[in-house]
């Protein structure tokens, strides 16, 4: 048998035995409130035994980070094997065992820029879901112009002394550690004075304040640093060379966001399914013809987007990728999700307006719709992505 088919067979068998049945149900409305998705970390309270077992079992095989080497606790899978694993997980509609910025963002940066000691120290706890990371990037005066950040880290000999403020730090109040961009040279041009630090959120001088969003949720925080001491060995890469790491990591963030928002998640109903159920058919066609047309256009764009995700992966495997796809995916995937949410609100009519209570699934439709407005802002606005495409891919001047 083809080795990949053998792997598929064995994986299917293992998943059958090890994926708890409670983890094979679609995410409920609670997904928005983040109790349904396992993020791990020191403060994590599992929703139940199924969630705990699922994480432990997947982590024991390194399959929370399938392509990382086994040396750092990863699964050691090839890209082709990882694709098979993803397909088999999707086949049984398994929930992700672990959602993690450590895996999607910090890990790839550490693998590329970290020292051997840093990789051995930080990667295995990420794979096991023991340490939850947050990203200290944006500041009140450094949003789209990220390189204008002002949080300072002074070299005190033994350690760095960090002072300043971050904003839009996702889940800072729930995270254990932060990977953080700081200014270490105030005289240099803005891109050349930035460094990349890792530190514990329990360090004295770190405080967080959640920001309440229009959706009612508070996934983002303001994060304050007041004379925080950071050991020297927690600098990643060279001093003042942090912008390269930042850019590399932004690429992974864009890819993660497009994967998260660009397509209807496993087990979730599509706008078409919801529309057929709620509005009904007349002579085999959705009873509202103009709405039908918009739904069809959205589904077609979503299908073309899924094919593009697939093509980008195929190109990466074949080594012919341009590496410039992440801005395209981020831009299109998030704009697509905003369109999808607008359509869902229309399909639900006045039911979309429900904010509380079981009748409205806790306001899932309205809250998802409102939350989606941030998709094209976080991780680099749509306008920034278009700038990147125009300059780096299309070679336009300026």
């Amino acid at each position: 048998m083809d080795p990949l088919e053998t792997f598929r067979h064995q994986t299917r068998e293992w998943l059958e035995q090890n994926c708890p049945h409670g983890m094979r149900r679609p995410l409920s409305g609670d997904a928005l409130m983040d109790t349904d998705i396992c993020w791990g970390g020191r403060k994590w309270v599992f929703s139940g035994d199924d969630q705990r077992l699922w994480l432990e079992r997947m982590a024991s095989r390194g399959w929370t980070a399938p392509t990382w080497s086994r040396e750092y606790g990863g699964g050691g899978l090839s890209r082709a094997e990882a694709k098979v694993l993803a397909e088999e997980l999707q086949r049984i509609r398994a929930r992700p065992a672990l959602e993690s910025f450590g895996i999607s963002m910090l890990g790839p940066a550490l693998l590329k820029y970290g020292t051997e000691e840093q990789k051995s120290r930080f990667l295995p706890p990420i794979v096991r879901g023991e340490i939850r990371w947050c990203q200290g990037y944006s500041e009140p005066n450094a949003g789209s112009d990220l390189a204008g950040l002002q949080t300072r880290a002074e070299d005190m000999g033994e350690h760095f002394l960090v002072n300043g403020q971050k904003i839009w730090t996702s889940y800072a109040d729930k995270a254990d550690w932060i990977f953080c961009l700081v200014r270490t040279d105030f005289a240099a041009p803005k891109h050349q004075g930035i460094s990349f630090l890792l530190f514990d959120m329990d360090s004295p001088g770190v405080s967080t304040r959640p920001i309440r969003l229009i959706s009612g949720a508070s996934p983002f925080c303001e994060t304050f640093f007041d004379n925080v001491q950071v050991p020297k060995e927690q600098l990643v890469g060279q001093l003042n060379a942090g912008w390269d790491i930042a850019k590399y990591l932004l690429t992974h963030e864009r890819e993660m966001i497009s994967g998260l928002f660009g397509v209807t998640g496993a087990g979730q109903a599509t706008p078409t399914e919801i529309a057929v159920r709620r509005i009904g058919l007349e002579h085999g066609r959705l009873a509202e013809p103009v709405l039908r047309q918009d739904i069809a256009r959205l589904e077609m764009d979503a299908a073309a987007f899924r094919l593009t995700l697939e093509r980008v992966r195929d190109e990466a495997r074949a080594g012919v990728g341009t590496g410039a796809a992440s801005s395209l995916l981020k831009y299109y995937g998030t704009e697509l999700n905003k369109r999808r949410q607008e359509l869902l609100v229309s399909i639900h009519g006045s039911d979309a307006l429900g904010w509380e209570g079981a009748a409205f699934d806790g306001g899932f439709v309205a809250r998802s719709w409102l939350r989606s407005k941030g998709n094209s802002i976080e991780g680099g606005t749509s306008e920034v992505q278009l700038n990147v495409i125009a300059k780096r891919i299309l070679g336009l001047p300026g």
């Binding site: 057929v276 085999g284 066609r285 764009d301 094919l307 593009t308 697939e310």
Partner: protein, 379 residues
């Protein structure tokens, strides 16, 4: 199946690009137009293309062709779209050959396909009867007569119909307009008494004939496929051809986009290169994203055509709708961004806009395919 070309496909693409840029640039189409060429394409060029195996690209090796995958036809169509190469490739080597492979008997295939693969014999499909594509709205009648059939009706927008040697005529032997059952397919040699073919010169300087059938008498052997049961093969052949038309549209769109980018990098106004203006940069970047999505849809559809499954119909509609829209957008943006130059006949951008319009109407536009996509999905 991977959405990346394999080695054979890559070689075909490289050969096609090089050949078409050298032998069939846009200026060749302009010369055909200005010289009012009788056939509307170069017979010499077509003979060379046939010599490279292109006329028989999709013809099985047993009948003298290359037996290449549909992806190969898509690759050629895309490159032909980039140089606006005028040839009967789409009408004969894609649409005609695919329909014969799907519906014709072994004897019919053996009689026709080797000559078609050699480029000596051209096929054309006589299908549409109204200006908007609808393969079920067939009023042309084939009535049983002694020893065969008599055909009466009128067909329009028959691509390359004026140069075809054999027409494949879609006619109704039963059922009512709008029904799939009762549609049958017939081979009609040009020159058959009662058959009138009138060349129509179209906006894209290519040709689509009007075909009139008045008491055209055919033998029993003119029927291809089963009586009343021609529609499924027709629909699948149309889907293959839609994938290829989408590939040509993608080529048209990519070429006008690259020419426009080049212009944005050079043209100066207000003392600056106009490509520095964010108003233009963002429009170019959005167009780039749309092009990439259309490319994925086209590649996915061509792979679906080669996978032989039931998924082809939706994939082909997705590709044709997407490619039609992106080519329309790319051509419109190209004319606008080239300013007054884009409006001149001297400049080549207009040729691309015109070809995109002809391909838009061929085998269903974006409205047709959006409706079909929803219908196929059951809503």
């Amino acid at each position: 199946m991977s959405l990346v070309y394999d080695d054979d496909e890559r070689m075909l693409l490289d050969a096609a690009r090089e050949f078409l840029r050298a032998e069939s640039p846009v200026s060749a189409l302009r010369a055909l137009r200005d010289g009012a060429d009788a056939s509307g394409f170069s017979r010499d060029l077509w003979a060379t293309m046939a010599g490279m195996g292109w006329a028989g690209l999709l013809v099985p090796e047993a009948h003298g062709g290359l037996g290449f995958a549909h992806m190969g036809a898509g690759i050629l169509c895309e490159q032909m779209g980039r140089t606006l190469c005028a040839s009967p490739f789409f009408a004969s080597a894609v649409l005609g050959v695919t329909l014969l492979k799907l519906a014709a008997s072994e004897a019919q295939q053996a009689a026709l396909l080797p000559r078609v693969a050699a480029g000596e014999h051209l096929l054309a499909l006589a299908l549409d009867e109204s200006p908007r594509h609808d393969p079920l709205a067939i009023a042309t009648r084939a009535t049983a007569a002694e020893g065969g059939f008599v055909l009466d009706g009128e067909k329009r927008f028959v691509l390359d119909g004026h140069v075809a040697d054999t027409l494949i005529v879609v006619a109704r032997t039963g059922g009512a307009a709008g029904e799939a059952h009762g549609i049958s397919l017939f081979l009609v040699e040009t020159g058959t008494p009662g058959l009138g073919i009138e060349r129509q010169v179209m906006v894209d300087s290519r040709n689509a004939a009007t075909v009139r059938l008045q008491g055209v008498r055919l033998g029993q052997d003119a029927l291809i496929g089963t009586l009343h049961g021609g529609s499924p093969a027709l629909e699948r052949a149309l889907d293959v051809a839609r994938c290829c038309a989408a590939a040509e549209l993608l080529g048209v769109a990519t070429e006008v986009f690259e020419r426009t980018l080049e212009y944005l990098r050079q043209r100066k106004q207000f003392g600056r290169i106009i490509g520095e203006f964010q108003g233009l940069q963002h429009r170019a970047a959005v167009l780039f994203c749309e092009l990439e999505l259309a490319r994925s849809a086209v590649l996915g559809a061509l792979r679906a055509a080669d996978a032989d499954g039931a998924s082809l119909a939706a994939a082909a509609s997705l590709a044709k709708a997407r490619a039609t829209e992106v080519a329309t957008l790319a051509a419109n943006e190209a004319v606008q961004m080239h300013g007054g130059m884009g409006m001149t006949d001297d400049f080549e951008i207009g040729f691309f806009m015109k070809r995109a319009a002809a391909l838009r109407a061929s085998l269903g536009d974006a409205y047709y395919h959006t409706h079909r996509y929803a219908t196929l999905a059951g809503y």
